[in-house]
């Protein structure tokens, strides 16, 4: 289905006035933008922070540093836990090996044999 211009219909549709933006539209957009900025949560939090006793010290950088510290500590703990698990698995493997060897050569005291 190809689009074909129809002069008769075009003439009829062309009778529609071209709507212009109302006077002061730009001013109202800018006012709405300012309003939206004021309503956004982060500036509100900042303003709230500034009114508190510790306000000036609770800034964005502090919040970021706290976040990095928390993530860092959490990663460190997880790493230590992983190491502990690996050591435990290694000990269990060694014990299993010892039991198998004991079954194979019961006459040998492998535990004390060097």
């Amino acid at each position: 289905m190809e689009d074909r211009e129809d002069p008769e219909l075009n003439r009829l549709l062309g009778q529609l006035k071209s709507p212009q933006a109302p006077l002061g539209f730009e001013r109202r957009v800018m006012a709405r933008l300012r309003e939206e900025r004021e309503q956004s949560v982060w500036p509100k939090l900042r303003r709230w922070g500034a009114t508190q006793t510790l306000g000036p010290r609770i800034g964005f950088t502090t919040a970021c540093a706290a976040l990095v510290f928390t993530v860092g500590v959490s990663v460190l703990f997880q790493w230590k836990e992983k190491q502990k698990t690996e050591r435990l698995v290694a000990a269990l493997d060694a014990f299993e090996q010892y039991q198998q060897d004991q079954e194979k050569w019961p006459e040998l005291d492998l535990y004390t044999w060097q």
Binding site: D3, L12, L13, Q15, P19, P22, R32, L33, E36
Partner: protein
């Protein structure tokens, strides 16, 4: 595109620094391209954004108004929302397409969302006389009026009917028709705005025109 850096001065003249050649140039705000204004908006320059609004307010308001059937207050509200969205998206804007195409894509999204929320374009009952016979809406008052008043009323009624019939079209057809008929956009740009292919845009326009031709049949003859 040449990389440029903009700074606004007190008398609203802008310094344009070509990053490649380090050439410095002074230009009035009106001569700065849309992409540069968007870049400045992303850096928090409200003057640049205001200039963008001034430049494109009629395009956005006109398109929204035609899509919403000529409701001025509602159209202004949606048009404002569109510009707020443009401001929010300024940092993500990539000047790889025409700015107006990108702007109209936001416009399409906002209008479609608004229409979905409203979903109120129900077809009005056709005009009927006392005997219940369907009549031409313009016939009602025409007999008593003459000259300019008659012509004015005819034009007003005709506009209302055209707007109502356009508003009856499915959203994609309506948008394609508004952009083609009233903004004289080419098929490629309309396809980009509607996230469609050129053949499907042509098909949308064909169907929209067919529907309108049928709906406005009596007016096509009346305005001869």
């Amino acid at each position: 595109m040449t990389a440029t850096c903009l700074e606004t001065t007190a008398n609203r003249e802008w310094v344009v620094v070509n990053v490649g050649t380090r050439a410095v140039e002074w230009k009035p705000m009106e001569e700065i391209g849309d992409a540069n204004l968007m870049a400045a908006t992303a850096r928090g320059d409200d003057d640049a954004f205001a200039e963008l609004v001034r430049r494109h307010q009629n395009l956005v308001f006109g398109t929204v108004s035609r899509m919403l059937g000529g409701q001025r207050a509602e159209s202004e509200d949606v048009a404002q929302q569109i510009f707020i969205r443009v401001h929010r998206a300024a940092s993500r804007y990539q000047p790889d397409a025409k700015f107006t195409t990108w702007l109209l894509t936001i416009c399409r999204n906002c209008v479609f969302t608004h229409l979905k929320k409203q979903n109120r374009w129900k077809k009005e009952e056709p005009w009927k006389d006392e005997d219940g016979v369907e009549t031409h809406p313009l016939d009602h008052q025409m007999d008593t009026l003459t000259g300019n008043a008659r012509e004015h009323l005819l034009k007003q009624e005709l506009e209302k009917v055209i707007l109502a019939e356009i508003a009856e079209l499915p959203e994609a057809q309506r948008m394609a028709l508004v952009l083609r008929q009233y903004e004289q956009m080419d098929y490629e740009d309309i396809a980009q705005v509607l996230s469609a292919t050129v053949p499907s845009v042509k098909s949308l326009l064909f169907r929209a025109r067919e529907t309108l031709r049928k709906a406005l049949q009596s007016y096509l003859h009346a305005t001869h």
